[in-house]
């Protein structure tokens, strides 16, 4: 007769009788709906109790960041800045200043392909609404004129943000999840956890290892829901994907997705998906959006002069391109 150790293992995991199992890394995860999406925190933890306390704090922190960055709550810091657009600078927390600095840095790198002031356009298209519709050309043009990251006056000394023109709106949807993931991962690492993943939808911040091996991350195929493009082994990295398949609606046989090009005011058409691998979550998130909007050729050119940033691009024809640093690193690569 065999004495299957793994049955015993399931038994022990399921019961609270024995919690101190020392076989293999003890990996636990929790999921909550936050920031308009699913956020999953995964931890390598010595015990269920320690993990439970950490999850509590992690989701608390995520709620705090959501309240700061959201555009769905008129009381959020971001919306207070928006409400004073064209009128006066608004004092904000040093944290929001830091997020905005990073957002503006990526906006400059991508020459406005990623733009934190895209708010008027996203509000116009209304991807979050029940019945989204294609806006009138005139409305798109009007909204497009209000989008320009150069019109954000950031005063670090006074701690204020000023949107120069009335009607301008910050929308940090393209950087907020990456920032939040990085921030929470940092907190968890400081608490001494040897490894974990904070995944805000497709924006991942990975730290440490899963026991004796790196974490295995799958990359969604942009056209076939039932497939992966491949997988990556990751330790201390952020991975973000922007794809035209996540939030979209269809009208008249056309697919309208949420990654808007600030230059045209319409969904960017030259990519199917962009995955960015780099150290910091906010940069990965914002760059994934920016590179997607830039389109494959300009994105490749930018990536060649960005050290420490790896990426996978799928162009509109479904042709894949990866940065030299990722070549051979993607397991089961099947574009």
């Amino acid at each position: 007769m065999m004495r299957p150790r793994f049955i015993l293992f399931i038994a022990l995991g399921g019961s609270l009788l024995w919690s101190g199992c020392d076989q293999g890394p003890h990996v636990v995860s929790r999921t909550q709906y936050l920031m308009g999406t699913l956020v999953t925190v995964t931890l390598v933890a010595p015990s269920e109790e320690e993990a439970a306390a950490a999850f509590e704090d992690a989701f608390q922190e995520l709620r705090r960041l959501d309240q700061m960055l959201t555009t769905f709550d008129s009381g959020s810091e971001v919306n207070r800045v928006n409400a004073a657009a064209g009128k006066r600078p608004v004092p904000v927390s040093p944290e929001l200043i830091a997020v905005m600095e990073e957002a503006l840095a990526v906006a400059r790198l991508t020459e406005g392909a990623f733009d934190p002031t895209v708010g008027p356009l996203t509000a116009l298209w209304g991807f979050e609404q029940a019945e989204p519709a294609v806006p009138a050309e005139s409305a798109i043009t009007a909204a497009r004129r209000l989008v320009n990251y150069r019109d954000v006056i950031l005063d670090r000394a006074k701690g204020t943000i000023f949107l120069k023109r009335a009607g301008m709106r910050l929308d940090l949807g393209g950087i907020g999840k990456g920032y939040a993931a990085a921030r929470v991962a940092h907190l968890l690492r400081e608490r001494g956890f040897p490894g974990g993943i904070v995944a805000a939808a497709g924006d991942l911040q990975i730290f440490g290892r899963k026991g004796d091996r790196p974490w295995r991350i799958g990359i969604q195929h942009p056209r076939d829901r039932n497939r992966l493009l491949g997988s990556l082994m990751a330790t201390d990295q952020a991975i973000s994907t922007s794809g035209d398949y996540e939030r979209y609606f269809e009208r008249g046989g056309q697919r309208y997705h949420h990654l808007l090009d600030p230059k045209t005011g319409r969904p960017a058409r030259d990519c199917q998906s962009v995955t960015v691998v780099t150290a910091e979550g906010s940069r990965a998130d914002a760059l994934a959006t920016g590179l997607f909007v830039l389109g494959p050729e300009r994105a490749k050119a930018l990536l060649r002069r960005l050290p420490g940033v790896e990426a996978i691009l799928m162009d509109a024809q479904g042709k894949a391109w990866v940065t030299p640093g990722l070549e051979g690193a993607i397991e089961g690569f099947a574009p």
């Binding site: 007769m1 065999m2 004495r3 299957p4 150790r5 793994f6 049955i7 015993l8 399931i10 038994a11 022990l12 995991g13 399921g14 019961s15 009788l17 024995w18």
Partner: protein, 189 residues
């Protein structure tokens, strides 16, 4: 007071002729069982369950009652030795052991119309291994994990039971025959 010498057909007590070799088999079973816990498993999660060889011999030589006594004592003594008495491992071990002995005993009662046994100790061993695993899974399901997920392990366990059951049966078969000859000889000859 049980009489020291069992009269034929009396099932209430075991004869001295049975008790002494059964005690020896039990002692060996406890040692084998404990040793197996310490030694590394041949495959991850799989153990041969060598103690069942002794159970099979007891069943073949002395019948179901003796085999049951051996198993109960093996589980009790084994858990006391390893310090898992009344713990989850003890429950699993006990449920698996007792269910498998009962299944094997039942199978051994079967006779063909010609009065022959359709299964040898090898068939018993296979059945015992499978029932052992099935009983453990059921206990896990009832007491610990109330998800049907655990039963997805069943095919894997059947495979493991086929391998371990075959091995133990092929050891027990000649061993039991040998022991039978040995016990038939008068003491001291």
């Amino acid at each position: 007071m049980p009489s020291p010498v069992e009269s034929p057909g009396d099932a209430s007590a075991l004869s001295r002729e049975t008790l002494v070799p059964l005690a020896a088999l039990t002692a060996i079973a406890v040692v084998v069982h404990s040793a197996e816990q310490i030694l590394p498993a041949p495959l991850p999660g799989v153990r041969l369950g060598l103690a069942n060889i002794l159970t099979l011999c007891a069943l073949d030589l002395f019948g179901l009652r003796a085999a049951l006594i051996l198993t109960v004592n093996r589980v009790l003594l084994g858990s006391l030795l390893s310090g898992t008495f009344l713990g989850p491992a003890f429950l699993l071990s006990g449920a698996g052991g007792i269910a498998s002995v009962l299944a094997m005993g039942l199978l051994y009662q079967i006779r063909t119309p010609g009065g022959r046994r359709p299964f040898s100790l090898v068939g018993l061993s296979l059945t015992g291994a499978f029932v052992h695993n099935l009983a453990q899974l059921s206990v896990v399901h009832l007491l610990f994990v109330r998800h049907p997920e655990v039963f997805f392990l069943l095919p894997l366990m059947a495979g493991a039971a086929a391998a371990t059951g075959l091995f133990n049966g092929l050891v027990a078969l000649p061993l039991a025959a040998h022991l039978r000859l040995l016990l038939a000889k008068p003491v001291g000859s």
